[in-house]
């Protein structure tokens, strides 16, 4: 197992290297806009642009630029470790801003994930156990709604109803926990729930399917034949098998959110990674794009590894060698 983890970690390293190279190539070799122009503005003379290129090393060959980029990444730059460089547009170091925005994205992702697990899993289980009942139909109707409703629409509707009309919840924006824990919480309710709804719907459907399948397994009949209570049959036998695959799904979905829940962040005006990277793509602020891409890639590959390791403990039939 340990050898497996070490080998997988080496793979993570390789994946990260490949991803940095690809992102670097895409944005440096065929940039959407000239980095020097996005730094200096359009009205500068060629001498100024040349000077900027020289200062940023943009006049050097690609492999030199890439080498410097990797060196900064691993050894840090003048702004600290890891060195992500300097944003052209805001003319400030990326590192501090990245961690600040990561904090917001993490709060969104963790809160949303807790919400969708709390909503999705019980709905799926109850639906499966009361199959074809009114409860089941209502739950699956909800799931269909959740899967089909686009997040931007859902977010705007939620804002319109709960903030603008009913004044039940505050509007967009972010209040730090240190400023006011209660306001921090109320500001998060809508983003969490809106983000959670889509996933809750998927999880409800998945858990329902797994659960129905598990309840028809032979080992459930055996569990009943042993004289176990129905409650124990459901919780210890059926749920044990039907929730194990959820771990895999959850790892992937959660990892995806770290790269930024772009739409949710935009609708609720949360200054997280997602909205940042979208702005950066449009303004040609390449260092930001590279930093966020890298960050997302590393989290996703690490989460994948984590999920695989956990899974080996949850399902004894899985053995890595």
């Amino acid at each position: 197992m340990l050898r497996y983890i070490v080998r997988r970690l080496m793979w993570v390293g390789l994946v990260v290297i490949i991803i940095t190279m690809l992102t670097f190539l895409i944005f440096y070799v065929i940039p959407p806009t000239d980095p020097a122009i996005s730094f200096a503005g359009k009205n500068q003379g060629p001498e100024v642009l040349a000077l900027i290129r020289k200062r940023f090393g943009l006049d050097q060959p690609v492999y030199v630029q890439y080498g410097r980029f990797v060196k900064h990444l691993f050894l840090g730059d003048e702004y600290g470790w890891p060195g992500f460089g300097f944003s052209y547009a805001s003319q400030s170091p990326i590192r501090g801003e990245l961690f600040k925005r990561l904090g917001i994205t993490l709060q969104l992702a963790v809160g949303g994930a807790i919400a969708w697990l709390i909503i999705g899993i019980p709905i799926g289980i109850v639906s499966a156990l009361k199959r074809r009942s009114l409860t089941d139909r209502a739950a699956m109707g909800f799931a269909l709604f959740g899967v089909s409703a686009p997040v931007f629409w859902l977010g705007l509707m939620a804002l319109y109803i709960f903030w603008y009309r009913l004044h039940l919840l505050p509007g967009t924006g972010y209040i730090g926990f240190g400023v006011s824990p209660w306001q921090w919480f109320t500001h998060w309710i809508m983003p969490w729930l809106v983000l959670a709804l889509l996933f809750a719907a998927f999880y409800a459907r998945m858990v329902r399917g797994n659960m129905i399948e598990a309840m028809s397994e032979d080992y459930i009949r055996t569990a009943r034949a042993k004289g176990l209570s129905e409650r124990r049959v459901i919780t210890r036998h059926a749920m044990r098998s039907s929730l194990t695959p959820v771990v895999t799904m959850f790892g992937l979905d959660f990892g995806g959110l770290i790269g930024g829940a772009i739409v949710t962040e935009s609708v609720f005006n949360l200054r997280g990674l997602g909205s940042w990277v979208v702005d950066a793509v449009f303004s040609g602020d390449i260092p930001i794009v590279i930093a966020v891409t890298m960050f997302g890639a590393i989290t996703i590959t690490l989460l994948n590894l984590f999920v695989d390791v956990i899974y080996a403990f949850l399902d004894p039939r899985v053995r890595y060698s």
Binding site: D218, Y219, R221, A223, K226, L228, S229, T244, R317
Partner: protein, 346 residues
């Protein structure tokens, strides 16, 4: 059409008494009459063989007796009296406490019948703890003992393994260990060897035989293999389309069978010890349980059918001591046909 049957009782005492049991399922295509009026008695310590094709209702009737099919899933009528109590009218929790400790059941495919994510020993511990307040450590020791008793080598290590680390035969032994760990009075074995290799089948059956002596329990052997029954059963129930069509002791069913369906089953057994050109299967397939043929449900496939067979349902009648059949042929005709046409060697 309740028919009282007096069966030979080896130990004298009746353990299980089933009267006019009906199990009907509502489906979108109509009512499936999976079990349609079955009555029989089972004595303490007796081995009852139950034969019939797939869909004859043999599994369903015993799943109902075990309380694994309940009134929530099916229309159930009749009486199932186990140790003097009608289990069909019992509250679910009381029935649960009998299940696993009073009567236990093992199934066809041991690999899918155990939970893949739990250790085999743990699954036995769970069975013990469902009925007795025992510490986990004590229960674990009993589980290991149970595994030893069914002939699993290295039981303490094996108990800590998962089902996928067992072979099919070893797993069926573990299932038996789990079923018997609370010394039940009745073991229902639903096709216990069908999914296993032929060489393992004999081992499992003789294991059941041995444990039956040891625990003095009654065994119901549900199978479609008459050969299995010939070697292990005291009495035989032959089921067809949800009904009992013949009931007798082993010798009566083998050497003096009274029902054309049983004749068909006997002739479909392949034999290595005598010259036989080809098997003689029963023509046709089992009937739909939604539109059961009128009259005798076997009549469309019966080579001896005559006038009343497609109109009148034959009752299960005891024609000799302990030997009943549901067929319109007279007993003389049955004896004549069996003696002259049905090939069974001793």
């Amino acid at each position: 059409m309740t028919v009282e049957i007096t069966s030979p009782e080896p130990d004298g005492d009746t353990l299980l008494s089933v009267r006019d049991l009906k199990v009907h399922f509502d489906t979108s295509d109509g009512v499936v009459k999976a079990v349609d009026g079955v009555s029989f008695d089972l004595a303490k310590g007796e081995t009852l063989g139950v034969v019939g094709e797939s869909g004859s209702g043999k599994s369903v009737s015993f799943m109902t007796i075990m309380g694994l099919i309940t009134r929530k899933q099916a229309h159930i009528e009749g009486e199932v009296v186990f140790r003097g109590q009608n289990v069909l009218d019992m509250p679910a929790d009381e029935m649960r406490s009998i299940r696993g400790s009073g009567m236990a059941m093992i199934f066809q495919d041991p690999i899918s019948s155990l939970h893949p994510l739990y250790k085999v020993g743990w699954q036995i511990v769970e069975a013990i703890q469902a009925h007795e307040e025992v510490e986990k450590k004590v229960a674990w020791e009993r589980a290991v003992e149970a595994l030893e008793r069914v002939g699993i080598p290295n039981a303490p290590q094996r108990a800590r393994q998962y089902p996928h680390e067992f072979s099919g035969g070893m797993l069926q032994r573990a299932m038996i260990a789990m079923a018997l760990v609370l010394n039940p009075d009745l073991l229902i074995a639903d096709e216990p060897t069908t999914a296993l290799d032929v060489t393992v089948q004999a081992q499992i059956l003789s294991l059941i035989d041995r444990l039956q002596q040891e625990f003095r329990m009654a065994v119901v052997l549900v199978t479609h293999d008459l050969g299995v029954i010939a070697e292990h059963a005291d009495n035989v129930n032959v089921m067809y389309a949800g009904k009992l069509v013949e009931r007798g002791n082993r010798d009566q069913t083998y050497y003096d069978s009274h029902h054309p369906y049983t004749w068909g089953l006997l002739q479909s057994i392949s034999r290595l010890d005598e010259k036989q050109e080809r098997l003689r299967p029963i023509k046709g397939g089992p009937p739909s349980l939604i539109n059961v043929p009128k009259g005798c449900s076997f009549h469309p496939r019966c080579p001896y059918r005559f006038d009343p067979c497609d109109k009148v349902v034959p009752e299960l009648v005891e024609e000799e001591f302990g030997h009943s059949s549901a067929c319109h042929l007279s007993i003389e005709e049955k004896k004549r046909i069996f003696a002259s046409e049905v090939v069974v060697s001793s």
